[in-house]
C-alpha cells in the first residue's frame, strides 16, 4: 500500500507516539495545565514542539448545562443563515482558564520564533482543549510562522456542531486536526448522548482509575445501551438526510426529540483493534463509522461494555502496534471493501457509508453545475453592463432608467434581472441546505462573479422595489430585512469574510435603497435627529465607496434620484457639501471630456481630470 498514517495526515510518523505518550502523561498531571516537549526527528531539519493539556473527569467539566452543555461560538460562523457554531461550554471555559492563567501564549510564541512546528495534543477530556488552542493560533497566526499549528487528540469527546466542522473545512483548516479513536472506546461517543447518571458513572470510573487511588474500580454497567442508543439516534437522523429522506414526518419528529448537536470534524484515524488503521475525512462517514463499528455483535453486551471502557486507556499500546505494522487504509475515495471486516460493519452501515460518499459526490456535482452556469451568468451580466452604458449615453443612470421602465432596454434588463435571480436563488438554496462543498463561499471565482452581480444588479432590484412601492408592504429595503433578497446578503458576506470586514459593512450595493428610504422618511417625518445622522452616513458612504470604486459614479449624474434628492436637502442638513459637489462636478466634466474626445461614452475614468 505504501501509505503511512503520517503521510495521510501530513505529519512525520515519528511524532505520533511521543505525542500520544505526552498527551496521556499530561492528562493526569496534577500540577501543570500543560506539558511541553521538543521532539527530534531524524532526517528533518525542522523540529517539533508538542504541547499536551491536562484533563478532568469531573462531570461539571463535561456538561456544565445539561443536557448537552452547548453554547454559541462566535469565532466560527456560517456565511449563509446557519448562524454561529455551537461548542461545548465546559471545555471552552477550561480552555479560557488555561489561556488566561498560564504561559501558553508566551511559550507557543517562543517556539514559533525558533522555527518550530507546534503540535497541540490532548488525551480524553484534554482533546477539546487542544482543539481550541490550535484554533486560537490559526485565527491569530504569528507573523514568522512557517507551518500552521497542528492538533492531535486521542480518545477525545466530540466538541463542536455541524457549523463548527463546516467552518473549519471552509477555512481549509480541517486537515490540521487529527483524532485517534479506538473501535469501542466509549468516550468519543459519549457526547452524542444527553448527560445522565450513566455519564457520571463512566466519568467517576475513569476518575478513580486515573487518580491512581483505585486501580480496579467497580465497573459501571448498563450504560452502553443508553449511550449507544442515543448516539444511534443521531447517526440515523443524519443518515436520513444523507439518504435524501422525503418523509415530512422527519421534521415533526425532530422537533419532539432532543438530539446532541455535536458532530465530528477533522480527520479521524480509527484503530480497528487488530493492528490496522482506517483514516477517514468525510465527516458524515466518520459519524456513521463511530456508531456502527461499536455496535453489539453476537457477543455478550457486558463484554463489549467492558471493552468500551478498557480501550479508552489503550491508545499508547495500540498505536505502538499499529504504527509498527502500518496497515493503513484511507477511506477518502469512498468505502473500500477490505476495511469492512476490520471495522466489523453491517450491510446497514455499508449503505450509510455509501450514502455519505454519495452526498459528497452530489455536492461536487452541484458545484460543477454552478461552474457551468457561470457562462450564463456572464452573458446576462454582459447585457447588464451594456444596458448601463446605453443609459449613460442618454444621461440617465441605469437605476433611474430602470425605475421608469419606458425603454425597450429597461424591459430586457428586467428579463435579465429575473434570469439572474433564478440562477442565484438556486445557489442560495443549495448553500442553505449545505448542498455545495464547504469551501464554496471562499472560492475567489464565486466571490468575484457574485460581487459583480451584486453591485451591478442589486440597484435594479431596489429600483423595482421602490417603483412598486413595496416598502408599504414589507418595510424598508434595508441591509438586513425581509425585503432584501437573501442572495445579495449571502454574496455580500462572502466578500466581507474574504476581506475580513465586519458583517454588514460592505453594503454599497444597497446605496440606492437607503437614498430612497430617506426620501420617503423625510417626507413622512421631516428632519429628525436620527434622519440627520442617516443623511451624514449616506454622504460618508458615498465618498468612501466612490473612492474605492465599489460604488459606480453614475449615482452622481446630474439628474439621478440621488443628486436631485441631495441638492434639495436644506444646506444645514448636509455635512459634506463641498466634497460631494466636487464629485458631481468631476463626473460632469469627465463626461463632457469624453464626449468631445471620443464621441462615444466609455468607462469614465476620474483620473482624467
Amino acid at each position: 500500500m505504501g501509505e503511512t498514517v503520517g503521510k495521510l495526515i501530513g505529519l512525520n510518523d515519528e511524532v505520533i507516539i511521543p505525542t500520544a505518550s505526552l498527551a496521556m502523561e499530561a492528562h493526569n498531571s496534577p500540577s501543570k495545565p500543560f506539558l511541553m516537549k521538543k521532539i527530534k526527528i531524524r532526517h528533518d531539519h525542522l523540529s517539533v514542539v508538542v504541547l499536551a493539556f491536562r484533563g478532568s473527569m469531573l462531570p461539571n467539566d463535561w456538561f456544565g448545562q445539561p443536557p448537552f452543555g452547548e453554547r454559541k461560538f462566535r469565532s466560527l460562523t456560517s456565511l449563509n443563515d446557519g448562524g454561529d457554531a455551537v461548542i461545548n461550554g465546559s471545555f471552552f471555559q477550561r480552555f479560557n482558564t488555561v489561556l488566561d492563567q498560564s504561559s501558553l501564549v508566551k511559550e507557543v510564541k517562543k517556539a514559533i520564533a525558533k522555527e518550530k512546528q507546534v503540535i497541540f495534543s490532548g488525551y480524553s477530556s484534554a482533546g477539546p482543549i487542544a482543539i481550541l488552542a490550535t484554533l486560537y493560533f490559526l485565527e491569530n497566526p504569528e507573523p514568522n510562522q512557517i507551518l500552521p499549528p497542528r492538533c492531535l487528540t486521542f480518545g477525545s469527546p466530540l466538541f463542536g456542531d455541524r457549523i463548527f466542522g463546516h467552518a473549519l473545512r471552509r477555512e481549509g483548516w480541517s486537515d490540521y486536526f487529527t483524532h485517534f479513536v479506538m473501535k469501542y472506546d466509549i468516550i468519543p461517543r459519549i457526547m452524542l448522548s444527553p448527560s445522565s447518571t450513566e455519564h457520571e458513572q463512566i466519568l467517576n470510573y475513569f476518575k478513580s482509575k486515573f487518580d491512581g487511588k483505585n486501580i480496579n474500580p467497580a465497573l459501571p454497567s448498563g450504560f452502553y445501551l443508553t449511550v449507544m442508543g442515543n448516539a444511534s439516534s443521531v447517526a440515523s437522523y443524519e443518515a436520513c438526510h444523507l439518504m435524501g429522506c422525503r418523509n415530512p414526518s422527519l421534521d415533526i419528529i425532530k422537533s419532539f426529540i432532543e438530539l446532541s448537536p455535536y458532530r465530528p470534524s477533522g480527520t479521524y484515524v480509527f484503530c480497528t483493534g487488530n493492528g490496522n488503521l482506517v483514516v477517514v475525512k468525510n465527516p458524515n462517514a466518520v459519524l456513521q463509522i463511530l456508531i456502527h463499528c461499536a455496535e453489539l455483535g453476537e457477543s455478550d453486551t457486558a463484554e463489549v461494555e467492558k471493552r468500551s471502557l478498557d480501550e479508552h486507556s489503550a491508545y499508547l499500546s495500540e498505536l505502538k502496534e499499529c504504527l509498527g505494522i502500518q496497515a493503513v487504509v484511507s477511506l477518502n475515495g469512498g468505502p473500500a471493501t477490505a476495511t469492512w471486516n476490520d471495522l466489523g460493519l453491517s450491510p446497514k452501515a455499508m449503505l450509510c457509508l455509501q450514502s455519505a460518499e454519495e452526498f459528497e459526490n452530489g455536492r461536487s456535482r452541484n458545484q460543477d453545475q454552478i461552474r457551468k452556469n457561470k457562462g450564463k451568468i456572464e452573458v446576462e451580466l454582459g447585457k447588464m453592463r451594456k444596458y448601463k452604458e446605453n443609459s449613460e449615453i442618454r444621461r440617465v443612470g441605469y437605476y433611474d432608467s430602470f425605475k421608469l421602465q419606458n425603454e425597450d432596454d429597461d424591459f430586457h434588463a428586467n428579463v435579465s434581472r429575473l434570469e439572474l435571480a433564478g440562477i442565484w436563488d438556486e445557489i442560495e438554496e443549495m448553500l442553505k441546505e449545505f448542498e455545495v462543498p464547504d469551501d464554496f463561499e471562499r472560492k475567489k471565482e464565486f466571490i468575484d462573479i457574485g460581487t459583480e452581480y451584486r453591485r451591478l444588479v442589486e440597484p435594479l432590484d431596489i429600483a423595482n422595489f421602490y417603483r412598486h412601492s413595496k416598502d408599504k408592504e414589507t418595510g424598508a429595503y434595508m441591509i438586513i430585512s425581509k425585503a432584501r433578497p437573501d442572495r445579495y446578503l449571502f454574496i455580500q458576506r462572502w466578500l466581507e469574510h474574504h476581506e475580513k470586514k465586519p458583517f454588514g459593512s460592505l453594503s454599497e450595493s444597497c446605496f440606492w435603497g437607503e437614498v430612497e428610504q430617506l426620501c420617503i422618511d423625510i417626507k413622512k417625518r421631516g428632519y429628525l435627529q436620527q434622519i440627520e445622522e442617516r443623511i451624514q452616513q449616506v454622504e460618508r458612504n458615498l465618498i468612501a465607496w466612490i473612492g474605492d470604486r465599489s460604488l459606480d459614479d453614475d449615482v452622481l449624474l446630474e439628474n439621478s434620484t440621488f443628486v436631485k434628492w441631495w441638492r434639495h436637502l436644506p444646506p444645514q442638513h448636509k455635512s459634506e457639501s463641498d466634497r460631494i459637489e466636487k464629485l458631481i462636478g468631476e463626473r460632469e466634466s469627465c463626461w463632457s471630456i469624453n464626449q468631445i474626445r471620443t464621441g462615444i461614452i466609455w468607462h469614465c475614468d476620474r483620473t482624467v481630470t
Binding site: 418523509n247 414526518s249 471493501t337 453491517s346 454519495e358 441546505e433
Partner: protein, 574 residues
C-alpha cells in the same frame, strides 16, 4: 428486475434509518409510558375507551387514550363498517369528497365528545409539545381527536402536536397523502398484532394474495412497521395495506392475543445497536433496491413473493428527489419572467395604440409565437398548483391557496384573454360554454369565494392599481366577441326574426354588463383604444342602431356617444 441506469445518481431508501431514529429516541417511550397505567386505573368515563392528560415536563403535554382491558381482550369487531361523518368533511379532497369513519371508533368518539371539546379549548391555551397517543381503539380516538384539533388550529396556536398510536385499526376512507397533516401521524404496528387489520375486508382468514384486496379504508400518516427482527417506516398506503394483509394472514385465525408494545419497543431498541447476523461484504451496486429489499424482509415482506414493485418505488423516489428547494426557487423566478414578458407584450401593444388582446388575435407582432410558449409554461405551472391544492383536505387547501392567490388572479386576467383570442380566431363561438378551460373556471370560483369571505383579505384589497392595468373579468373579451357575432346576426340579411330578436336581447344584456364594468372601474382603459375589438363592436352597433332608425338608448350608448370614455381611467385630480 430493472436496474438503475448507469448515468443515474444512486438513490437510497431511508425507511430503516427513520425507524431506527424513532425507536432509539425517547419519543415513542414517552408516548407509550402512560398507556398501561391508564388501562390499570379506574374508569373515569362511561366509555369503553378511557382518557387522561399528563404533563411530564412544563413544555410537554400528553393526552392518552386506551381501551378498558376488557375491550382489548375481547374487542368485538362489530361496527366494522364506515359511516359518513359530516363533521369531518374538512378532510374531503377532490378524490374523496365525503368522509366516512369507522362506526365503532365514531361511537366512542361521540360518547367522549363533550369532554374532548372542553379539552380542545384548554389545549388551545397551551404552548409547547403536545403528544396525543393511544392503544388499539384508543389509538383510533387519538387520531380522530388530533384531526379535530388540526382542523381548528390556526397561526395563533402555540402548541405543536404529534399523534402516536399503537396497534390501532384503520379509521376511515380518507387519505392524507398530499397533506401537510399527514406528517403529524405516526402509527406503530407489530406484525404479531391482529388488531390493526380488524376492519380490513381480507380479514384474518385471507391468504397471501398477490394484491391487497380493495378496501374502503385508507391508512394515513407514517407507519412504523415492526417484526421480531426489526422495523421500518413507510408512508406509502399500498405498502402499508400490504403489510397489514401479510401480517394478518401470518397471525392466522384463532384467538386474538394481546401484543405488548412495551416489550416490542425494548426489543427494537436493542436491535437498533446490534450489527445483525451478517457483516458487510461488497459495496451495494444498487443501493435503493438492495436497501429496500433488506428493509422489507426485516418486517416480514418478501418483495418477490408478495409482489412488491421496487422499481416503481425507486422511480417515485427519483421524481421526489428532483424537486428541491433550489429547483423550486428557479421555477418561481421563471414564472415571474414569463409574466414580465407578457406584461411587456401588453405594453408594446398599447404603444401601438392597440389592445394586447387584438394584437395577439391578429398576430401583429413577430414575437407572438413565443407568447404562446409562455402561456403554455404558465398554464402548466398553475394547473399543477391547483392540482396540489385539490389533493389536500379542503381546510388545508384554503390556507395553501392564500399564499399564491393574488398571483393566480393576475395570471388569469393576463392570460385568459389570449386564450379567448385563439378561440375566436379559430372560429369558435360562445367561449364561456364551449372553450373555457377548467383551470380558469376554478380560479374564478376561488376568487369569488375569497371575495365573499369576510374574514380573509379581500382579493383586491392590496393593490388597487391592478384593476387599472388589467380587466377584472378575464372573460370580458369573450363577451365582446359574442356581442360582435350578435351584431352580425342582427344585421345579416338571412337572419330570421327570432334570431334578430335573440341577438337584440343579447346586445342589450351586453350593454348593461359593460356599463356595470365601467361604473366599477373594472375594465382596463385600453378597451377604448381606436382599433380594439370593443370599439369595432361599438361602431358596428352604433351603425345598426342608427340604420334601423331606432332611437334606442341606454347608459352605455350615452356614455359612448358622448365620448365620456376619453376621461375613463384618468387620475381624478387631473
Amino acid at each position: 428486475m430493472k436496474r438503475r441506469r448507469m448515468n443515474q445518481v444512486p438513490l437510497f431508501s431511508s425507511a430503516g434509518e427513520l425507524a431506527n431514529m424513532l425507536v432509539t429516541s425517547n419519543l415513542i417511550d414517552a408516548a407509550w409510558a402512560k398507556i398501561p397505567e391508564l388501562q390499570r386505573g379506574q374508569s373515569a368515563f362511561p366509555s369503553s375507551v378511557q382518557t387522561m392528560v399528563d404533563h411530564p415536563t412544563p413544555n410537554r403535554t400528553i393526552v392518552v387514550f386506551a381501551p378498558l382491558p376488557d375491550s382489548t381482550q375481547y374487542p368485538l369487531p362489530v361496527g366494522g363498517d364506515l359511516v359518513p361523518y359530516l363533521d369531518f368533511d374538512f378532510l374531503g379532497t377532490k378524490e374523496c369528497p365525503s368522509v366516512s369513519i369507522n362506526r365503532a371508533a365514531l361511537t366512542i368518539f361521540e360518547s367522549l365528545k363533550n369532554h374532548l371539546s372542553r379539552l380542545k379549548t384548554e389545549l388551545n391555551k397551551r404552548e409547547g409539545q403536545l403528544i396525543i397517543t393511544g392503544h388499539s381503539l384508543g389509538g383510533s380516538i387519538a387520531s380522530l381527536f388530533t384531526l379535530y384539533l388540526l382542523s381548528n388550529m390556526d397561526k395563533e396556536s402555540k402548541y405543536r402536536p404529534i399523534c402516536i398510536t399503537f396497534g390501532s385499526p384503520l379509521i376511515g376512507n380518507f387519505g392524507l397523502q398530499h397533506s401537510h397533516w399527514n406528517s403529524f401521524f405516526l402509527h406503530l404496528v407489530s406484525d404479531k398484532d391482529p388488531l390493526p387489520t380488524l376492519f380490513l375486508p381480507s380479514g384474518r382468514s385471507a391468504t397471501t394474495s398477490s394484491h391487497s384486496q380493495a378496501t374502503a379504508y385508507k391508512p394515513f400518516g407514517t407507519y412504523l412497521l415492526c417484526s421480531e427482527l426489526g422495523c421500518a417506516c413507510f408512508d406509502d398506503p399500498d405498502l402499508i395495506l400490504k403489510f397489514l394483509t401479510v401480517a394478518s394472514s401470518e397471525v392466522g385465525g384463532g384467538l386474538l392475543q394481546v401484543v405488548d408494545y412495551g416489550e416490542i419497543l425494548r426489543n427494537l431498541k436493542n436491535r437498533a445497536i446490534c450489527k445483525g447476523p451478517q457483516l458487510a461484504g461488497e459495496r451495494f451496486a444498487y443501493p435503493f433496491s438492495d436497501g429496500i429489499v433488506m428493509e422489507l424482509k426485516t418486517i416480514g415482506i418478501d418483495p418477490a413473493k408478495h409482489n412488491i414493485d421496487t422499481t416503481r418505488m425507486e422511480a417515485e423516489a427519483r421524481t421526489l428527489a428532483k424537486k428541491t428547494k433550489a429547483s423550486d426557487a428557479k421555477e418561481l423566478n421563471d414564472i415571474k419572467k414569463y409574466m414580465v414578458m407578457l406584461e411587456w407584450y401588453k405594453k408594446k401593444s398599447k404603444e401601438a395604440n392597440k389592445c394586447y388582446y387584438d394584437c395577439f388575435k391578429n398576430g401583429d407582432f413577430q414575437r407572438d409565437v413565443r407568447i404562446e410558449e409562455f402561456m403554455g409554461q404558465l398554464t402548466t405551472y398553475w394547473e399543477d398548483m391547483v392540482a396540489q391544492a385539490e389533493r389536500k383536505p379542503q381546510k388545508e387547501g384554503v390556507s395553501f391557496r392564500t399564499g399564491w392567490f393574488q398571483s393566480a388572479t393576475t395570471f388569469r386576467r393576463m392570460v385568459e384573454p389570449l386564450d379567448i383570442a385563439i378561440f375566436y380566431r379559430d372560429g369558435g363561438r360562445d367561449y364561456i360554454n364551449n372553450g373555457r378551460s377548467p383551470l380558469y373556471k376554478l380560479l374564478e370560483k376561488l376568487y369569488e369565494e375569497a371575495a365573499k369571505n369576510p374574514t380573509g383579505e379581500g382579493p383586491d384589497s392590496k393593490n388597487k392599481k391592478v384593476s387599472v392595468l388589467l380587466t377584472d373579468d378575464s372573460c370580458f373579451w369573450a363577451h365582446v366577441e359574442d356581442a360582435v357575432l350578435s351584431c352580425q346576426s342582427l344585421n345579416h340579411a338571412n337572419s330570421t326574426p327570432e334570431q334578430r330578436e335573440s341577438s337584440r336581447k343579447n346586445l342589450v344584456k351586453f350593454g348593461e354588463y359593460v356599463m356595470k364594468q365601467i361604473e366599477n372601474f373594472a375594465v382596463s382603459p385600453e378597451i377604448f383604444l381606436e382599433q380594439s375589438s370593443f370599439m369595432k363592436w361599438w361602431r358596428m352597433y352604433e351603425a345598426s342602431i342608427d340604420a334601423f332608425g331606432n332611437f334606442y338608448t341606454s347608459p352605455l350608448v350615452n356614455f359612448m356617444k358622448s365620448h365620456k370614455y376619453d376621461c375613463y381611467g384618468l387620475p381624478e385630480e387631473a
